[in-house]
Symmetry: C2
Subunit: 115 residues, 2 copies
DNA sequence: TGCAATAGGTACTTTAAAGTGCCTGTCCCC
DNA sequence: GGGGACAGGCACTTTAAAGTACCTATTGCA
């Protein structure tokens, strides 16, 4: 039985919905990142959630995982060509988030960590 | 204590995140809608979730609630000016969802209800 | 007279998302 | 030889999101 959508946008939400995926993609849009770099960029994500979300994004074809056969392990994540088709959405979301903060808080350093 | 964001896009997700808000906004972008119209457009949402999400969107200033003092009750929802600043994001999300379905399914009528 | 339509409210329960804690293995450095 | 960096896996638990069920009120209509 195939998943049914009442409106096509639900298909997009299935790929980038949830608490972390958009954030991860916003980091990867700035360039290829190692697992540990991503983790440092997202201090509150757990190792498990990071791996899980990366796996799902990979399964949906929007990111790519490159393993370097070395010790200690090195794994890099980057957007696929298909993932780059999300760039417009991600850029707009980031910009809107900034404007939203400016609109709602006089001093945005109050809401942005290390801001 | 104020909520802290590690990256501004998190502020956007707080407003339009979750299972229903983007879908609701995608309907309202087509024009003002009554509660019952929204409900009919989203057959699987429950009355409670619809009301709850509408209240939150209203509290965030992206939609407006207009009550007509009549019996039976009539309530209309529409985007506020601030809500319209989301138009670009919503349009792109809808378009991406459509392309994603076309990319992943040969026959999109299989995944779109009443499609 | 009894039901449908309208737009909810509220208490409770379920389920899915997210988080915790502990485990692997190898190499380098102190 | 103990600890950290690296990239996870796995079992379990917690919490937040979502869903169910039942309640309000008024009017018109069959």
């Amino acid at each position: 039985m195939v998943k049914k959508y009442n409106i096509p946008v639900e298909a997009a939400l299935e790929v980038i919905g949830g608490k972390w995926k958009v954030v991860i993609l916003c980091h990867l849009i700035k360039g290829t990142k190692r697992t540990s770099e991503l983790k440092r960029s997202m201090p509150t994500i757990t190792q498990k959630m990071l791996t899980q979300q990366l796996r799902e994004l990979e399964a949906d074809g929007v990111i790519e995982r490159k393993i370097y056969q070395q010790i200690p392990p090195k794994v890099e994540y980057s957007l696929t060509e298909y993932g780059w088709s999300l760039k417009g959405i991600l850029d707009s979301l980031c910009a809107w988030g900034e404007k939203h903060i400016e609109r709602n808080y006089d001093d945005k350093s109050l809401v942005l960590v290390e801001g």
